[in-house]
Symmetry: C2
Subunit: 391 residues, 2 copies
Amino acid sequence: MKVIGLMSGTSADGIGVALVDIHGKTQISLLAFKTYPFSTELKKMILLASSHEKLAVDEICRLNFLLGEEFSKATLRLCKEAKVSLKDIALIGSHGQTIKHLPPKSTKPIQFGSTLQIGEPSLISERTGITTIADFRPRDMAAGGHGAPLAPYLHYHLFHSLGYGVAVQNIGGISNLTFIPKNGKLNQVIAFDTGPGNMLIDAIVFELTHKKSSYDDEGRWAARGKVNKRLLGRLMQHPFLKRKPPKSTGREEFGIFFAHQLMRENKNMKKEDLIATITAFTAHSIAESYGRFIMPKFSLKEIIVGGGGVKNKTLFSMVQRLLPSIQLKRFEDFSLNSDAIEAMAFALLAHETMKNVPSNIPNVTGARHAVLLGKIIPGNNFKKLLLSFKS
Amino acid sequence: MKVIGLMSGTSADGIGVALVDIHGKTQISLLAFKTYPFSTELKKMILLASSHEKLAVDEICRLNFLLGEEFSKATLRLCKEAKVSLKDIALIGSHGQTIKHLPPKSTKPIQFGSTLQIGEPSLISERTGITTIADFRPRDMAAGGHGAPLAPYLHYHLFHSLGYGVAVQNIGGISNLTFIPKNGKLNQVIAFDTGPGNMLIDAIVFELTHKKSSYDDEGRWAARGKVNKRLLGRLMQHPFLKRKPPKSTGREEFGIFFAHQLMRENKNMKKEDLIATITAFTAHSIAESYGRFIMPKFSLKEIIVGGGGVKNKTLFSMVQRLLPSIQLKRFEDFSLNSDAIEAMAFALLAHETMKNVPSNIPNVTGARHAVLLGKIIPGNNFKKLLLSFKS
């Protein structure tokens, strides 16, 4: 069964479209993947809507429909480029664009969580004729969960049959891990944020290059510098690293404010040394997460690294040196495309919901129980789909 | 099959909950109905979110979840009060709360429509365990329609078997009609806004009583006044009345600004005469809609009047006098509850979508074709539901 997954991340760079084949007992393989960038104008609108700025509700209302059209166009383009007929696609899973995510807080007064993903899926269903499942996070939050992370469900299905303890380490803006114990069941999966990913490095490079460069290409800059042990030691005292999982973090803790503070406090340090130190902090915070929370209890043979951070060779080899007993691999070593993973996840989640299989992992999201995720927007193939899934 | 319909109108007074039984070839009967008012605080938040004020997106995000909880609570309360077990309810159809509706405009530059209903349905599905279908308007708009009106689909199923030409006249803030020709098919239904409903009368009473009264109780004030023929004649020149259907109007044309202008221009008129004249304008604009667009082409025997305007006896008898050949009835004459009609409509629309039956009327909404409306949020009974509908 062919399913399409659609994803746009919080950086609002564009829409990732993954065409996958799902067969047998949740075997999933990638047939095609492409990212279609947003126009500068649209990216600006999305980032504004995601900010703390006040906005006319008209703008949110229009942006939801505008993004729905963009998701539809991206889907149609991928199918054309991959030479796949829309008729051969059973289902679309669309994550949409997160413009607000407010996880529940157990502090007093208790704050219930809420989340807002936009990109009107009725338009996707209408333009493609394909039944679309969208908006996966609210249902987990309705069941008391954080509505995130959801990708561990895919990680489990990709790697649990390897027969040994394995982890997926995603290095995006923030880093997070998914650990699958040897012969582990779905509800034994552990997943949490490990700390900063590219976020801190990118923010500091951006400032140090006077906004000319927004990342450390292949980690070359970090490679030229020397790690400042004293600063690294101080950074490793960050309280987030000691908190027990499940836990999650974001821009509030490791974003632009933290980066600016670091730069002010270390303005006499050589630029390459500062970048090397921040890169080391990122690597150490990842490695320590395994050392502290995984390796004392479980056997771990391989870590499969994905996300933009894979391209930072200095960061990658720092992590490898810190975890000498574990083999670091890439998604590409399993014939997968690291960039496609998130979009693939939402294709799989759509498939599961249509099959009446719950796909949040309560252990991971904090939900009280497993639930069917998403909202189904029937396409022209709805009846056919119901019949095929029923059997 | 028992289905619940949930509706909250733009005045944000509260949630109407209708429990209906749908059987045979779309026979629908009302088992229970109740309106649960919003707290003053929540009503204020909704009206703010519906206004032109700028808002933090956090507020919308939270309000969506907060309203989802309110819709859930209202559902649970009705079931308790009606002594119906949740297990006996197959489906919930929730309209949600419209906070923005921007219909498409064919003027240049062409503006695509968009709409925003909130009241997170994942919460309804989670709290009740019942599969919920929500957010009915976007799909019709995706197909090029106005996403409204949707209630004519219910009107048709309630009254098409009467065997003669019949209309439903709803007098809410705005007035609208649904006409079902004798032996007419669904796609022969005509529906459009006829002009002001209670909106103008209410606004003027509110000002004239220095905000002490918000409506003309039973039309008593209007009954004491004399209609000013000159002013009535001038009002009946309003361009909206001449526009050919399908057409829709709203606060922009017949709201507070229009009311204030009328009061300024007629400040020397006796209060009861002004109210009598505005009531006559409302009655004439309704009657003329039939005279101009329905009666020249179709036979029409009865008009079934609903909405808050039914309670204005002066208005009701004015309409009756203007249409002497037609019998005016009330929903109550058919053992129906006028207040429940909108909520019943969304119960029926949910049922149709689950049965794979399109329920927008392209003739009425302007959509390019008929579509399945809404988004399905699977409950605990999802599989059972699929099996029962499949057969």
